[in-house]
């Protein structure tokens, strides 16, 4: 094994010279996770809103289900999806296994309950007068929803950032249903796992640095956004 200092130097070199292999892996991670978060956010917030304002039975049970889904390990989600998508599985004909779309679906499954749970907490804490004000001023139902969501937009943005941070750093789902195919389904986390197992640390460390910087940026932005929400209510 090479010296840690040397490896880190090599990692920084890869990062700073814009190594195309490295950055295409990074772009793939972002592309998959952005698709997943964009497709999850609207329906998850709608579900959260209905759980706060709806008057149907079983709301507590549904909430409890979403809360317990929060702690399902990613390998279990990966396993479940693998069984669904494998050739002999119920959705085998779709030929989705080992594709980016399979990774997107898996990440949607992972962040949907997160966004519902955090969205619920945020919307539930919204001032009850917002909805009444919108309704009494003649807003149609969908604009009433938009008005309420807009009033707690920073809290919701914080929820979305949390969800994004979770899916871009997960490895279990991507590995199992993506298959870590170079140039096609290899993302930051699966690449790190592979390179490390091969004893090639430089690229792994470079990608690790990307993830760490991303985490730092997300967390800083998150605390800024949460501060905004507190001062705006």
């Amino acid at each position: 094994m090479e010296g840690i200092l040397f490896t880190t130097q090599k990692a920084l070199y890869l990062l700073l010279t814009g190594d195309s292999e490295l950055w295409s892996i990074v772009m793939l991670s972002f592309s998959v996770s952005l698709k997943a978060i964009i497709m999850t956010t609207p329906p998850a917030l709608l579900v959260a809103y209905s759980l706060v304002n709806g008057h149907f039975p079983g709301i507590r049970i549904i909430l409890a289900v979403f809360n317990s889904l929060l702690s399902v390990p990613t390998v279990v989600i990966g396993l479940f999806l693998y069984v669904m998508l494998t050739r002999q599985g119920p959705f085998g004909d779709l030929r989705l296994l080992f594709t980016q779309n399979a990774m997107v679906i898996g990440q949607i499954l992972l962040c949907f309950p997160i966004l519902v749970a955090l969205g619920y907490a945020t919307i539930n804490a919204a001032d009850k007068r917002v909805r009444e004000t919108a309704m009494t001023l003649g807003a149609p139902w969908w604009f009433t929803i938009l008005t309420v969501l807009y009033e707690v937009r920073f809290g919701l943005l914080a929820a979305v950032l949390t969800g994004f941070g979770r899916i871009i750093s997960e490895v279990g789902i991507s590995m199992m249903v993506g298959g870590n195919i170079f140039g096609y389904t290899r993302n930051i986390t699966t690449a790190i796992a592979l390179e490390t197992s091969k004893g090639e640390f430089a690229q792994g460390i470079a990608l690790g640095i990307v993830l760490l910087v991303l985490a730092l940026v997300l967390t800083t932005f998150l605390s800024y956004v949460q501060g905004k929400q507190e001062t705006s209510t």
Binding site: V130, T133, T136, L137, E151
Partner: protein, 216 residues
Amino acid sequence: MIEPLIVFRGIKKNYANATILRNVDIALYHGKCILLSGNNGSGKTTLLKIIAGLETPSCAEIEFSGKSLSWKKAIQGVRKEIIYLHQHPYLLSGTVESNVSYGLRFTHLNRKQLRDSVKEALNWAGLADVAKHKAKTLSGGVQQRVAFTRAWILKPKVLLLDEPMANMDLESREKACDLLKRMKSEGMSIVITSHDTNIIDGLIDSHFSLSDGKLD
């Protein structure tokens, strides 16, 4: 004899194990102002919210434009004519101007009509100077006036004001009273609640008090 604009009959409201309203009838007339008094917790806010369609009664009937229907069937149509103002109004994030124009988006005004209408309303309420200010940063009295204006601009047939004078100093009270008289002279039907009965002179046409879930 003048026909009432809207009549609510037999309003009942129960929460889990408490009866808040137990058979309230109330008739609203064009250009008239009703004062609803009652102790704290007597159900004034609940009654106004039921009239505005923001709270569901256990049962109630509505007579409107010659028809008598259950609350559930009639409220969708009636709600458009009625605006409820909270005791402490909630101003949406954005400017005074965007608050005042909020409800106009749902009318059929075009952009120019909308702009003119907002301008007129801001002048009417003496808010032109703060039009571009962030609404949430204004003092309580000014916020109350923004909320009045945001409702008035929609020209509702009925305006329900929940304790509008409770948190105002004398000067804002006089200003608010003045605005309300103008609204009344434009033909609006107004309902005001208060636990303090003799604050608003020259505005009230009839006075009911709510106690034990009933109106007297």
